[in-house]
Symmetry: C2
Subunit: 443 residues, 2 copies
């Protein structure tokens, strides 16, 4: 309510400034600015924020109220866009009713073992089949002559890849590189245990490119959505492709990805982050075996329950596209998700373009082989640049918008990464606040 008044007044404020020289109106403008600040800074550090991390949260996940706020209360709350929590997808799965329900009996998930005939002995055959079927349907990755390795999210698979690719007896830790801006978790994961096997080098260009090194190629990229290829090109190069966002709701599918090691995750494909499930498609059997060995040592496999559930969900998606009857009943998953992302990006670009406070990257347009729609990449995150402020993260925090600052991604603090896949209420409030800021900051 108070914000609504503020919003109305800030429009007046702009008009006032344009009229210029009128002291009374200038005074109103100053008051409005002060009012805005009060509204946005009032009740600073509400309960959950900073509760678990006394210090700076360092771009990690910290505690976060993921539930949408009741109407009318949201205006005074922090909007947390720091994490890519894919709660946007929840309403879709609710609409689907009991079609994706799974019943699991008490005697299931007793043994450690799922399928002793495959390299990945803890991979549930139903999940493996559903993954293969989905890739064939979407056409986003080659599955032939590849091993599927399941992991506790693609996060664990990333560590499994490092373990598999870095020889235990090498004199020096292997360099892990990625062009900035890179996913902020890469350096954290790589260096958290001070491993003697590998070491994060980020974007530095002065390492020995003749010796083996690993380049992480994330495409579409997290955080900026760019479509990427390897950039370092040394003779020692080993490539790992993080294709978590190579799905038709985020980017046109131009071809089947056909790399040696590709990492996928359920969090960003179907939106089931709480399942903690990812998979790798791996060409080389020896590498797949070493990845399996890592997952064996570090967690003796991966939750069977989540694999069973994921298989059901993926198969419901597969069926909906293969069976024309189902397809008429309700919107199919990737259609829903592409349209939702398109709507959000359209709102975001509109509000950003209305002023001079922010800018967004231009992203490539293409035709999608899956949907046959032509559209620009519409990533799960906005890589937002503050045009008039140095520390964009702190600036937005003053307006109760929590984002992850550019420095965590090896970039400038003028940038932030903001999640666009949260609850609709939070998203709308984010757009409303950006609009307010833009109108105040762009006189």
């Amino acid at each position: 309510m108070a914000s609504k008044i503020a919003s109305t007044k800030s429009v007046k404020n702009q008009t006032a400034l344009l009229a210029a020289g009128h002291w009374l109106m200038l005074s109103v403008a100053i008051n409005v600015g002060f009012l805005l600040k009060l509204i946005h800074d009032g009740n600073l550090r509400i309960d959950w924020y900073g509760l678990h991390n006394g210090q700076d949260n360092g771009g990690h996940l910290s505690s976060y109220a993921a539930e949408p706020k009741p109407d009318g209360q949201i205006q005074n709350k922090y909007i947390n866009l720091d994490h890519g929590d894919p709660t946007m997808y929840q309403s879709y799965w609710k609409q689907m009713g009991d079609r994706t329900d799974v019943v699991i009996s008490g005697w299931q998930s007793v043994s450690y073992f799922s399928d002793t005939k495959t390299v990945c002995w803890f991979l549930e055959p139903g999940f493996a089949n559903a993954v293969t079927r989905l890739h064939k349907l979407v056409g986003n990755a080659e599955t032939g002559n590849r091993h599927i390795v399941v992991g506790t999210g693609s996060t664990q698979l990333f560590q499994a890849v490092l373990y598999a690719l870095c020889p235990y007896d090498a004199p020096e830790p292997m360099s892990i590189v990625s062009a900035a801006p890179f996913y902020s978790s890469y350096p954290l994961i790589t260096d958290c245990l001070k491993s003697g096997l590998y070491k994060w080098r980020g974007e530095v260009d002065d390492f020995n490119k003749e010796a083996p090194y690993i380049e992480l190629v994330t495409s579409p990229n997290n955080p900026d959505g760019s479509i990427r290829e390897a950039v370092f090109n040394g003779s020692g190069q080993i490539l790992v492709h993080d294709v978590a966002y190579y799905w038709p709701q985020y980017t046109p599918i131009s071809s089947r990805a056909d790399h040696d090691i590709m990492l996928f995750t359920l969090s960003k494909s179907t939106g089931h982050a709480g399942m903690r499930l990812g998979w790798a498609l791996v060409k080389d059997e020896a590498i797949a075996k070493k990845m399996v060995k890592f997952i064996e040592i570090s967690s003796i496999g991966v939750s069977k329950d989540s694999q069973v559930r994921a298989a059901k969900i993926l198969d419901v998606i597969n069926d909906s596209y293969e069976d024309s009857k189902t397809s008429n009943e309700s919107k199919r998953f990737f259609d829903y998700a592409r349209e939702e992302m398109a709507k959000r990006w359209s709102q975001l670009r509109e509000v950003v373009n209305k002023g001079q406070a922010f800018s967004l990257p231009t992203l490539p347009v293409g035709e999608c082989n899956f949907s046959h729609h032509t559209f620009a990449t519409q990533p799960a995150f906005a890589w937002l640049k503050c045009e008039q402020v140095d520390d964009c993260e702190s600036f937005l925090k003053q307006h109760k918008i929590l984002t992850r600052g550019g420095v965590h991604f090896g970039s400038s603090e003028k940038y932030v990464r903001a999640s666009l896949i949260g609850h609709e209420e939070d998203y709308n409030e984010f757009i409303r606040r950006l609009s307010l800021i833009n109108s105040v900051e762009s006189p």
Copy 2:
């Protein structure tokens, strides 16, 4: 069938040797020995064995046919007792019918977050409640003033503990010690990434006990079932208690364990190894937070699906003991499991005591505060010693019994660890083969 003949003949063989000097009978004895060897060595290295590990399996999990074999085929197959795969429990949960069924809807497990009001933001409140209730029921651990941290098995929690206790900026990696025989996975997990934070020292006694070091106290101990306390007693000592087997089916519950850091796992309590779920009870909030941080970095939380299922299963157990009506309907979980372990240990001790080939440790007897039964610790594993052979693992392998050799546990190769919590058919076949060996090797 062939083995039955061999068994009958080997009894005759013993008689023959006792009669002594009779050449014809001695020849029969030699033939029986040869026959046994043929039966047990025939079809060596069947499909799954060694399939995934070209080299020695190093005491790790390798692929393993967990399914029971159809009757009549088991005699020629390898019996895999290398892993503690708790398939013994499957028949109990099958008997329970749909009481432990869980229905999970498609819209569940979308968010990363479970409960942002607790230190462990990915801990499902229902699971936390069920765990607390179970400890109160069984009386095996103090839960007051403690934080529950959930992990992808206690394996991940062990790593989280190391991360939490070892300062990042220490000049030297912290020493991790444990009295032999120790759980074979400890050194593998500790050293697999050549961490600069910690280093496995095992049982060595020459490290600096003034400087901080971590002693792992596993009680009842894996592999030998002994009841343990800390043994190194230096001033720098930090204790971590692995109490995975401190449940009333394995050992009398003598008191509520009240240590600073205690690790539990579902695999060995209810037998749901495929859920990959463990929990830690942690006194110090700062340590709990750092453990949570590790799990955040390494897997962004723990499967919600498994937590939801586990909550249901634990609550069915809790209800069965609290509600007298349910308790009459069928055997309650811990009663079933204690009786099953008692039966297996009684069979094992009987067959071992019949000859001189093997021995087992003597384990302490006590009254259980939970069941009020008086019994000796009856561990999930047998710590079996070959009395007449040096390499016990290889010897048993010749008889198609796969176990884990003592060297993996920091002990002598005269010992092996054999799982006693597998399928009944496998267990019975193990007992039958031990009996055969004992009768041949104990003239």
